[in-house]
């Protein structure tokens, strides 16, 4: 796969991960502090950030 193609995939992945974080934060805004849904949304954000780090490590050396 060409470097420019991988870079395009990384860009799209990062934008999709950014949307997940934005949606999870919107959920956190809607639920009361301490609500289990808020904790789940926070865990989702952390998982997404870990995925973003994985994407960075996996794709950057190939770019």
């Amino acid at each position: 796969m060409a470097a420019s193609e991988l870079a395009g995939i990384r860009h799209e992945l990062n934008n999709r991960l950014a949307r997940i974080i934005a949606l999870a934060e919107a959920v956190m805004d809607l639920v009361p502090s301490g609500d289990r849904a808020g904790a789940a949304a926070d865990a989702l954000i952390m998982q997404t950030e870990e995925t973003a780090e994985f994407v960075r490590r996996a794709l950057d050396p190939c770019s």
Binding site: N15, A18, I21, A22, R56, L59, S63
Partner: protein, 135 residues
């Protein structure tokens, strides 16, 4: 201490509607006034019509690329604060954000990020500008 974002006018340029809304909401929660645009050409129109204190612009967008928009904004008003955001692009990692810095962005932020990271980066810009006697 007063929030450095309170009362500021922030222009957010982002082609993804969901991210645009999320970024706008983050600044509204900090009591900033928010203008939005979905591409660089629209962003320049808003910029020329409203003289924002801060421009947050995505770097890879349709119509008019963010780098070109950033350069036009800085050429028109060098003192305006510009925060460039990007998820990467068609050059090696980080290069678009490095390029954004090279052409005048005052700060850069890689996607994905939390709303708090965005507003913290904006606050840091205003605090630095205030300390330097600008904005």
């Amino acid at each position: 201490m007063a929030d450095p974002l309170a009362g500021r006018t922030v222009l957010v340029i982002e082609d993804d509607p969901l991210l645009l809304e999320a970024m706008a909401r983050a600044f509204l929660k900090s009591n900033a006034k928010v203008l939005v645009a979905t591409n660089g050409a629209e962003g320049l129109e808003r910029f020329n019509g409203a003289s924002p204190d801060l421009v947050v612009t995505d770097i890879i967008m349709p119509e008019r690329e963010g780098i070109e928009t950033l350069m036009s904004i800085k050429a028109a008003r060098p003192a305006v604060q510009v925060l460039a955001v990007s998820g990467g692009g068609h050059t090696p990692a980080g290069k678009f954000l490095e390029l954004a810095s090279a052409v005048g962005a005052d700060a850069v932020l890689a996607k994905p990020f939390r709303a708090q990271e965005l507003t913290d980066a904006a606050r840091a810009l205003f605090m630095k500008a205030d300390a330097d006697g600008g904005v």
